[in-house]
Subunit: 403 residues, 2 copies
């Protein structure tokens, strides 16, 4: 599914970027990116819950704990995961190397990696990449960096907002990558949100956490969660205006909404770019006994291969949804089930309305993007998951992806 | 994956069978089967745990509770699921109708259905099917019945054993269907095991439960569990010899082993026939903290789309297994992880051994069937799941399957 790219944000006060070919990927493709702020920044990050977290995730978790960061270093083409002590050493050494080049403390560097698991990164290649990356740093390098972090992505992903807080202009911009291993509890994805607002560390943390819960934690492509997921928010504080220390501060709500919006936008781009995906479906579950049950139901339906192949075929095979619902522990009566496909009422009282409704649902399912609503009739719990279809192209791509 | 069919069992004392075209499926394909014993039989059954169990499952659960059954009636082409009160009435009416024809009590009939969900079965069609089925009953109808229960299956599935218990010949034979919605806690499948042994109801129950736990509950094709799964054991008691009342009885162990073997055999046929499957993989997990953790790990790996597409591509992409392992709650250290592909040691101490090992693993993965062993190094827990690969053909088939 190709989407129109909006122009990349021109620049964000206080940040420089680069995206270069360092030699990790083949054929001269960009594989190394830097995001560097002029001064140490307030910073927050969330990471994968995969128990086999990659070496850079281990190091980044340590470094971000201070709440101050000045540089993010991202390589694509190699996840530096399941690489043992050697991989951990390489991640630490890379931070030291970049910090030396920038003249900052190593603890101010966050390393991120994405790509194949289980292959060692080469010191010399990384040294060269770091050197090239530092030389290429530029105020206008946002798009180059956003391209260098891609792996199997079909297109770069970014979104931005310019807003006014107390009559001062503030920018919020996000870049992201990810097209496979996309599941609950963060996608196989890296995302970086940058703002020039004057955010405290606490405010950055609460804004990031609430934004991730409504964006990356609500998408699912294939039920597989990666070892390297990382989402970072950095605030350079270069915009004029007063500081935003927490939810009570003037401007907090406006800024939080902007961050949630750009993350929602790039997370939907990830679903649209899901390997082989041809459709994006907003799957809404309402009427569950509670929100947690609604969430489990939405994820189970979104991750069912039989449901997702039906989406690919634009087939209103609602029986597969019944099957998937029945495989959860959700409390509901089949006789109360309702299902809408887009604006079409397909199922009422647990059974299909008519052949005409099936035909109308089929027409909706031929669209690129639509919603499905499952009403369980058991309570007030609700949840939404954004998912995509399972196509032959997904299988073809992932059967051939090099080990 | 095509497999050689062994000859169907000629007959089993005390049983008659039929498999006819009743008009549920199109193009004259068989869609209705009967298995009828000469007298009420000791019987045990296990059913799907899907919460949206089909109407025939609801009725069969009631009828089997007496422990005595004389007829099993199976239609393919329609699951009679999500069909509300009307579907439930039809299931009960069908039992009455068949019982009347056979001159037995309706409670001695078990109804089973498989096929599309959410479509009403027609009374007149069922009446005709029942009439044709009764007329066609024959001692030699096993293969016809085994063919009539199929849906998307590429080939019929049966297995049998002839054994001697106390110098008397006893037959055990199973027929099954299933090729999609195959997952933990029974597959989308129907299976019927018949024996002429003199089994008590209690012995039948304990033999069936232990056999299902080592066969159908250990296979996984796509993580989706159907609404209609049913596995029935009937014992006609027509063979000479003493009665088998329980585990202490002479012959119990031999008979239990034979039932376990035929169910293992037909459950593996289901995996081989998994929609689009080209490979069958015995995935063994050892060294887990306990058996339950080993089981969760094996299922998570077996159900990961990224692992299963790698199987399709004969790609020893062990990083995807690390990723899937990390998405469980299993306690283990990545640095202790070992992975064998067939006889090839691929991963030791959490990392890949050599390029040669990768090449050797790739050769094993080109086979039709092989094993993978994951050793977690955390304890003595172990589990095995038999799974298949995820191919483009699976997606093609399930995108096109009619709703």
């Amino acid at each position: 599914m190709k989407i129109e790219a909006s122009p990349a944000p021109a620049q964000i006060r206080g940040f420089r970027f680069s995206g270069v070919h360092g030699g990790i990927k083949k054929k001269g493709r960009r594989d190394f990116a830097l995001i560097v702020s002029d001064h140490p920044c307030a910073c927050a990050a969330v990471f994968t819950r995969n128990r086999c977290a990659a070496a850079p995730v281990v190091v980044a978790r340590e470094h971000v704990s201070s709440g101050r960061v000045q540089a993010i270093m991202i390589n694509s083409g190699n996840a530096n995961c399941a690489t043992g002590e050697q991989g951990l050493k390489l991640a630490r050494w890379s931070c030291d190397e970049l910090a030396g080049r920038l003249g900052v403390a190593p603890g101010l560097v966050l390393p991120c990696s994405t790509g194949v698991i289980g292959v060692q990164l080469d010191h010399r290649v990384m040294a060269r990449a770091i050197s090239l990356g530092v030389d290429a740093l530029s105020r206008r390098g946002f798009a180059a960096a956003a391209r260098a972090i891609l792996t199997s992505d079909a297109f770069p992903k970014w979104a931005s907002r310019t807003l006014r807080i107390n009559d001062c202009e503030v920018t919020v911009a996000a870049m992201a990558k990810g097209a496979g291993m996309i599941e609950p509890q963060m996608a196989t994805m890296l995302a970086f949100v940058l703002t020039d607002a004057k955010l405290s560390g606490d405010a950055a943390r609460s804004i990031l956490e609430s934004s991730v819960s409504t964006s990356f934690n609500r998408i699912s492509v294939d039920g597989d969660t990666s070892t390297n997921d990382t989402c970072v928010l950095m605030a350079s504080a270069e915009a004029p205006g007063v500081a935003i220390d927490g939810p009570a501060s003037n401007g907090y709500e406006v800024l939080a909404r902007a961050v949630a919006e750009v993350l929602d936008e790039v997370s939907r781009m990830i679903v649209r770019d899901g390997e082989g995906a041809t459709k994006m479906v907003d799957l809404m579950v309402t009427g569950a006994a509670d929100d947690a049950e609604a969430d489990r139901v939405a994820r189970r339906v979104a991750n069912s291969p039989l449901v997702r192949t039906a989406l690919a075929g634009a087939d209103p095979n609602w029986g597969r949804i019944v099957m998937a619902l029945g495989n959860t522990d959700a409390r509901f009566e089949l006789t109360a089930l309702e299902l809408d496909v887009g604006e079409v009422a397909l199922v009422r009282a647990g059974t299909v309305i008519s052949d005409d409704a099936v035909a109308a649902a089929r027409r909706v399912m031929k669209r690129d993007a639509y919603s499905m609503t499952i009403r369980l009739g058991a309570g007030a719990g609700r949840a939404t998951i954004v998912t995509s279809d399972l196509t032959e192209e997904y299988v073809r791509f992932n059967s051939a992806y090099t080990s």
